[in-house]
């Protein structure tokens, strides 16, 4: 059997598939960021905390109200999205006329506060959440848990729907127009502030959805988002700030590259994304799919 750099091709195939699954999380999270940045020009550093809130919402629904995973997959994003709407109305909306930096500082501070509150309430070590579809299928080259398969398919579908809504529908065209010329769009009788608020809520709901998907496989603890958000920001920068398709493609792509790194030089698997980011920034500062602003 031929081997590639000492790694049998079957093992390689397995790692590629795993990379794709991780990429699904990156794609889903960076998609929410891209929607919020692309349509609102807000760099949402609370995204990681909102991802965490999604996982905790699923846990709370299960343990306080007896709501299992499947309904929680719908309910948790709605609940967390609603908190996002409140946040946008109360705080973030007051910063639109200022520089990006203020939004960044506000959302970063909010993330720290939210994480602190959850830690105070639930402790630092985390909470258990059972896998709703245990078991899996032996594919010959690897064992594929059903749940991972579900995550990758579902994330891909959600990504595509989001892309379609924003790029191909009338609603999406309103949104994009409102970003460019809010005054003109408003003149046509469209309530722009409400649309922006709902957009933020939708972006937050995407983060929460990723959180619910993560609950059965990653530890549900208050810092779960803080660890991931940095990687996701790198994904957004590589894909091009605000580019919807860019963040989807880059999310899956980066997952695959990371997966391969874990085979050949595992120690570097956390760094490789940032190396790619540095190279992209040097060669194409607007990102792979971005347009210069």
């Amino acid at each position: 059997m031929f081997e590639l750099l000492g790694v049998p091709p079957q093992a390689l195939l397995g790692q590629l598939l795993l990379g794709l699954i991780n990429g699904a999380f990156y794609a889903l999270l960076s998609l929410g960021l891209a929607v919020i940045f692309g349509l609102m020009n807000v760099i949402n550093f609370t995204h990681g905390a909102q991802y965490m809130m999604g996982a905790f919402a699923a846990w709370m629904l299960l343990n306080y109200a007896g709501v299992p995973y499947w309904p929680a997959l719908v309910l948790a994003p709605l609940i967390v999205g609603a908190t996002g709407i409140v946040l946008e109305r109360l705080l973030i909306s007051r910063l639109y006329h200022l520089d990006h930096l203020y939004g960044l500082l506000l959302t970063f501070g909010l993330a720290l506060i939210i994480e602190g509150l959850f830690r105070q309430q639930f402790g630092a070590s985390g909470l258990p959440y059972d896998n709703p579809i245990p078991g899996g299928q032996n594919l010959g080259f690897m064992f594929l848990p059903w749940y991972r398969g579900w995550v990758v398919v579902f994330s891909f579908v959600v990504c595509m729907i989001t892309w379609y809504v924003i790029e191909k529908t009338k609603l999406g065209s309103y949104l994009r127009a409102a970003t460019e010329r809010p005054d003109l769009v408003q003149a046509f009788g469209i309530n722009v502030p409400r649309m922006i608020t709902l957009t933020y809520g939708a972006g937050v709901a995407l983060a929460a959805l990723a959180g619910v998907l993560a609950a059965p496989i990653y530890t549900v603890n208050p810092t779960m988002g803080a660890n991931l958000i940095i990687v996701v920001f790198a994904v957004v920068v590589i894909g091009g700030m605000g580019s919807i398709m860019g963040s989807i493609v880059t999310g899956f792509g980066v997952g695959v590259v990371e997966g391969l790194t874990k085979v050949f030089y595992p120690e570097a698997s956390n760094t490789v994304i940032f190396v790619i980011m540095a190279i992209v920034l040097m060669v194409r500062p607007q990102g792979l799919f971005g347009t210069p602003r």
Binding site: L18, G19, S125, F143, P145, N227
Partner: protein, 407 residues
């Protein structure tokens, strides 16, 4: 600013008045500083629970013995950072009149605090940190390592599993000093008993996704997958191993540093069958159960970990030694006295402290219960074997502690 407010909040007044000052206590007060993680990964296994344990030890001691002097317990958050930990330790010793520092999880912080304690001739009783070097090459006449260390965990879990037939190992190791030390100590224990290490993989710290590493472990065909990591990394690895059917596939996991709070975070359904070594478990005697009940009532229903129980035990023994000496001024002298006196408290029972600063007691090899075997929350361990104190810790001759070579 945070430190001062924390100090204010942590003040605990004593039971007795300070009139009869026959003994020589610095500023008339014995001040115990609990230095640990109050907000991060280790805050559940040490944190406020350790502060409560220290206060409880003072209360129990003064109930049984007469305390003429004032005893205070203060605490601070070292955030798992050596620089933060050292500056608090210096301040405590120089400005605030702290006589003894206890707990201090995170080995890198423990090393820094141990150096400062020696320089200031105070006392440092560590319960939370793991590195076995603390009583090896880095040992100090002002230091006692109370609860556990990497050698004891590696030896306890590693040997037990090899003896039961788990002869081939693959390690998933956190890529930093602690993880490598844990892997090295375990691999040595495995090889000593005729086991074999088939491979290892170093994961970045912290890591979120372990599926790739687990797949490599699966591919190695090793019977045992050793997890040389801690906290959220271990939880993630165990959770995902269950997902990938590692155990159904005939391989077993060995957690090399797992605390009771980690099992609580995993849930029994995921954690069942895991073998691990612990210095203390709440459900082993009436005294321990009573302590755990009281602890839970004061700590949001959480049960005490071995680290928190160790703080109780260490503070108790410290107070005994200080009273026997009638002074808390000379740190090295107190530690010498503590080593001379046999230890005895309601949680850890009888034990001794070796010249290299290692506190010696039995360790427990436990198996995590199946959900059906558990009577409720926090009923998690089945005791498999008791590892006698004499075998549980690294022999003094192998540690390379300069204090031992002198004698």
């Amino acid at each position: 600013m945070r430190l001062t407010s924390v100090l204010m909040a942590g003040l605990l007044s004593s039971l007795a008045a300070t009139t009869a000052m026959s003994a020589n206590f610095t500023d008339g007060v014995i001040k115990i500083g609990v230095l640990n993680d109050q907000s991060g990964t280790y805050s559940d296994l040490s944190g406020q629970g350790s502060v409560w344990a220290a206060k409880k030890a003072v209360e129990d001691y003064c109930k049984a013995n007469k305390c003429d002097e004032k005893i205070e317990v203060v605490f601070a958050d070292h955030q798992n950072k050596p620089d933060v930990g050292s500056s608090i330790a210096r301040r405590w010793y120089d400005v605030d009149g702290v006589d003894v520092i206890v707990d201090v999880p995170t080995s890198s912080v423990a090393f820094a605090v141990s150096d400062i304690t020696k320089e200031k001739n105070k006392v440092f009783l560590d319960s939370g940190a793991g590195a076995s070097e603390l009583t090896g090459k880095k040992c100090s006449p002002n230091f006692i390592h109370w609860t556990y260390d990497t050698w004891a965990l590696a030896n306890g879990t590693g040997s037990a599993i090899v003896k039961e037939g788990g002869k081939t190992w693959f390690f998933i190791t956190a890529d930093y000093a602690f993880g490598k030390a844990l892997e090295r100590d375990t691999a040595a224990a495995v090889k000593k008993l005729g086991g074999k290490v088939l491979g290892d993989v170093r994961h970045p710290f912290p890591a979120q996704d372990f599926s790739s590493f687990l797949l490599q472990a699966q591919g190695s065909g090793a019977k045992i997958i050793g997890l040389a990591n801690a906290g959220a990394d271990t939880i993630n690895a165990i959770k995902q191993a269950a997902e990938f059917g590692i155990v159904q596939g005939g391989q077993n996991l060995a957690g090399l540093l797992v605390f009771l709070t980690d099992i609580h975070a995993l849930g029994l359904k995921t954690a069942q069958g895991l073998l691990l070594t612990t210095a203390w478990y709440w459900d082993t005697s009436d005294a321990n159960r009573a302590f755990a009940k009281e602890f839970a009532a004061a700590n949001k229903g959480n049960y005490p970990t071995m680290v928190q129980a160790g703080v109780y035990s260490a503070v108790t023994h410290y107070l005994k030694a200080v009273h026997a000496l009638g002074s808390d001024a000379d740190g090295a002298k107190i530690v010498a006295k503590m080593k001379e006196m046999p230890t005895d408290d309601k949680l850890f029972g009888k034990g001794t402290i070796r010249p290299d600063g290692r506190k010696i007691h039995d360790m427990l090899l436990v198996e995590v219960k199946k959900p059906s075997e558990s009577k409720g929350a926090w009923d998690y361990y089945k005791i498999r074997t008791k590892i006698p104190a004499a075998e549980a810790f690294r022999p003094m001759s192998e540690g390379g502690c300069p204090l031992v070579n002198k004698s």
